[in-house]
């Protein structure tokens, strides 16, 4: 491209990102934060380097995920150099003559107003105590929990205090997390659909009933895009739908605003459509896997029940909005819609696998087979039948799976080192009513993911929501499921700028729209979407989720 002159020099961004990430990584190693375990410090370092790298992208976002998993297996696993030889030593609590509930403990056992119960060589539990006095290497503390002869950890500075190291296989295993396999199944179905042109043929068939009137064509394009992007990647759907939209756009003059509407309607619908199913887009995976870890499973069909109505409402809002902003001038269009379904045996087999898988997913609540298990059906069937060959498998977007796996892995450590609780505990959230909390979460997610990857935004925010629920900081009435889903939905509503999502970038590249058009409609959809989602979260989702 020629327009080099206006480009922000890329190396500056890279240098700032690298410097910020490395500084962030080092700070927790050099500075002690009260109330945060040693492992929490390590995780904070990993969190800061990951956040900097994910935001400024000195390296690709999926490689940041790989870096995260690497740092976790080295620094936080029980087999890593920091923990493979570490063990806790017990000390016995001594009674104080004449004082009930007062105990004498080694001075070294007390830190930040707490001692830790000894529960094995690598396991401990925090107990808050009141410090009475210190003398001769012993501290007199008051506590109801301690008893005569209770074993406590003798050295509160031990790096095992407050953290039971996870096996390194836990971190590596995130790549085989059921939600990752669910996505793998979705990717393979999508790859097979593209290979046999099922996506294009379906589009032709589905668009036919919408006729040739401009507003109906737009409506049809949006609905079909949303349906396809619920099962395929939003980006791939956008690229495919653009091949349908461009010939339509070429029928009108360059100045006609109908071009703007065409080019905008597809990425909007693709972004929104991604919300509709768990496999629609990666942020959903982060939400669902985090909830699964808390024992809160959301069935495939349940997700659709809560998301599809929201998607439909938002699609209608976007459609109406564009109708007002860009009224079409032509009254009729010629649509060339030839469908020629592949009728080979392999193709028919693939159609069958596709239909069966989707059916089993949607009815998960009825038959109880987890969607991650069902996802292995297409993985197996499409390769056994050679519908997908070696080259096709190599071509799958594996980096997305790594990206999500890194996010899941980081979330694990943020929870079990106490970092997430520590991060949110500085604010007294319980003074905020639940609805305001949802709005705050949604707003932050929306803002961040307009500039960052949607998946990264979910990765950074979901652990905080989880810890607010598990620690009780958020107070009564805080629903983790609803908050997490709200964050996920808000991440997908971010479509302000060309950089907000890959579908937006594709739409911009056509040259039919200016950034201003995208900002105008993206901001309205974002804000309206947030409040509509909030309405759903308060009145509709609890029917299915609580």
């Amino acid at each position: 491209m020629r327009n080099k002159k206006n480009e922000f020099p890329a190396w500056i961004k890279t240098a700032v990102g690298l410097a910020l990430g490395l500084t962030g990584f080092l700070i927790p190693l050099l500075v002690h934060f009260d109330g945060l375990s040693f492992a929490g410090h390590l995780t904070l370092g990993i969190f800061l380097i990951a956040a900097s790298f994910w935001m400024l992208e000195p390296i690709p976002i999926y490689s940041t995920s790989m870096l995260v998993i690497f740092l976790q297996i080295v620094l936080l696993s029980s087999q890593g150099p920091l923990y493979n030889n570490a063990s806790l030593t017990p000390a016995t609590v001594q009674t104080v003559e004449g004082e009930a509930q007062q105990w004498l403990v080694p001075e070294s056992a007390v830190r930040d107003g707490s001692v830790w119960l000894y529960q094995g060589t690598n396991r401990s539990e925090r107990v808050a105590v009141e410090i009475i006095a210190s003398a001769d290497g012993f501290t007199r503390v008051q506590s109801e929990t301690l008893g005569d002869g209770t074993s406590i950890v003798s050295d509160a500075g031990n790096r095992l205090v407050g953290y039971t190291p996870a096996n390194y296989t836990t971190f590596l295993g995130t790549l085989a997390n059921p939600i990752i396999i669910l996505f793998l199944g979705g990717f393979m179905l999508a790859a097979a659909a593209v290979k046999y042109n099922l996506d294009k043929n379906l589009t032709s068939v589905l668009l036919k009933p919408f006729g040739s009137k401009p507003m109906f064509i737009i409506l049809g394009l949006m609905l079909v895009t949303a349906v396809l992007s619920a099962f395929m990647s939003n980006t791939a759907t956008t690229a495919m739908m653009m091949t349908v939209a461009i010939p339509i756009a070429l029928q009108v003059s360059k100045e006609d605003k109908f071009r703007i509407m065409l080019a905008l309607s597809i990425p909007i619908a693709a972004n929104l459509g991604g919300m509709a199913t768990p496999i629609g887009t990666p942020p959903n995976a982060i939400v669902i896997s985090a909830l699964n870890q808390q024992g809160l499973g959301i069935a495939f069909g349940t997700w659709m029940m809560i998301a599809v109505p929201l998607v439909i409402v938002l699609l209608m809002v976007a459609w109406g909005l564009m109708r007002i902003l860009y009224p079409p001038t032509l009254t009729e269009f010629k649509l060339k819609l030839d469908s020629s379904f592949d009728r080979s045996i392999k193709a028919k087999f693939m159609y069958g696998v596709f239909a069966l898988t989707v059916l089993l997913w949607v009815t998960e609540a009825q038959h109880g087979i987890p969607s991650g298990m069902v996802a292995f059906l297409p993985v197996m069937a499409l390769t056994v039948s050679s519908v997908l060959e070696k080259e096709d498998i190599r071509n799958l977007p594996w980096e997305v799976l790594w990206l999500v796996a890194g996010g899941i892995s980081l979330g694990l450590s943020m929870e079990n080192t106490g970092l997430a609780v520590w991060l949110v505990s500085s604010i007294s959230w319980d003074v905020l009513p639940q609805i305001l909390l949802l709005l705050v979460f949604g707003f932050v997610a929306l803002m961040l993911s307009n500039f960052l990857s949607n998946t990264v935004t979910a990765t950074l925010l979901i652990p905080l929501a989880v810890s607010m629920a598990t620690s009780g900081i958020a107070g009564e009435g805080f629903s983790l499921v609803i908050s997490a889903v709200m964050i996920g939905m808000a991440c997908n509503m971010a479509m302000l700028l060309p950089i907000s999502t890959p579908p937006n970038a594709i739409a911009m590249s056509t040259g039919y729209i200016k950034t201003g058009d995208m900002v105008k409609i993206g901001s309205i959809i974002g804000i309206l979407g947030l409040f509509i989602a909030l309405f759903f979260a308060v009145f509709f989702w609890p029917l299915f989720l609580l």
Partner: protein, 165 residues
């Protein structure tokens, strides 16, 4: 990002001007270099190579003083740097032999007979550059506006290299 150049070689300056004028719609995205002889073209090619840029399309007249257009194209086909360059022969007087040689040894992509229709030349240049970027470039989005957007989107769909993140 490396620029992708269009190289036009034509010994008559007036004709050269017409070619460049016909291609002006592409110039914003693909800088155009002009040469009046095969010798000058070689210099320009090595210049572009030195800058780290690429040549996506060469439009070449055949009958020129000095080396002929077909010779230049065969040479380009033999050189690594210009092997992938799309090659269009634009001529009124190339004999059958020269044309056969160009097809066989220079992997000529298109043959345009003089005189040509302005829109036809632009269309051919667009098609050839579209084929070039599809073959050579990883990221096709920057070319969407200038080239055949439908073909490029179809390629993006087929490659399956795009994903959400």
């Amino acid at each position: 990002m490396a620029d992708i150049f269009i190289l036009c070689v034509e010994d008559e300056p007036e004709v050269l001007d017409v070619i460049v004028r016909d291609l002006s719609a592409l110039e914003e995205f693909f800088p155009i270099e002009m040469a009046v002889s095969a010798e000058e073209a070689r210099e320009i090619i090595s210049e572009i190579e030195k800058q780290g840029d690429k040549i996506g399309l060469a439009i070449c007249d055949h009958v020129m003083p000095g080396d002929k257009g077909v010779d230049l194209m065969i040479e380009m086909q033999k050189t690594d740097f210009t092997r992938r360059t799309r090659k269009v022969l634009l001529t009124g007087q190339a004999g059958l032999d020269a044309t056969i040689e160009a097809v066989n040894h220079a992997r000529l992509n298109r043959y345009i007979a003089k005189p040509w229709e302005p829109s036809k030349l632009l269309e051919i240049a667009r098609d050839e550059l579209t084929a070039y970027v599809i073959e050579q470039e990883k990221n096709l989005l920057p070319y969407m506006e200038a080239l055949n957007a439908e073909k490029l989107q179809e390629e993006i769909r087929k490659r399956g290299s795009v994903s959400d993140y």
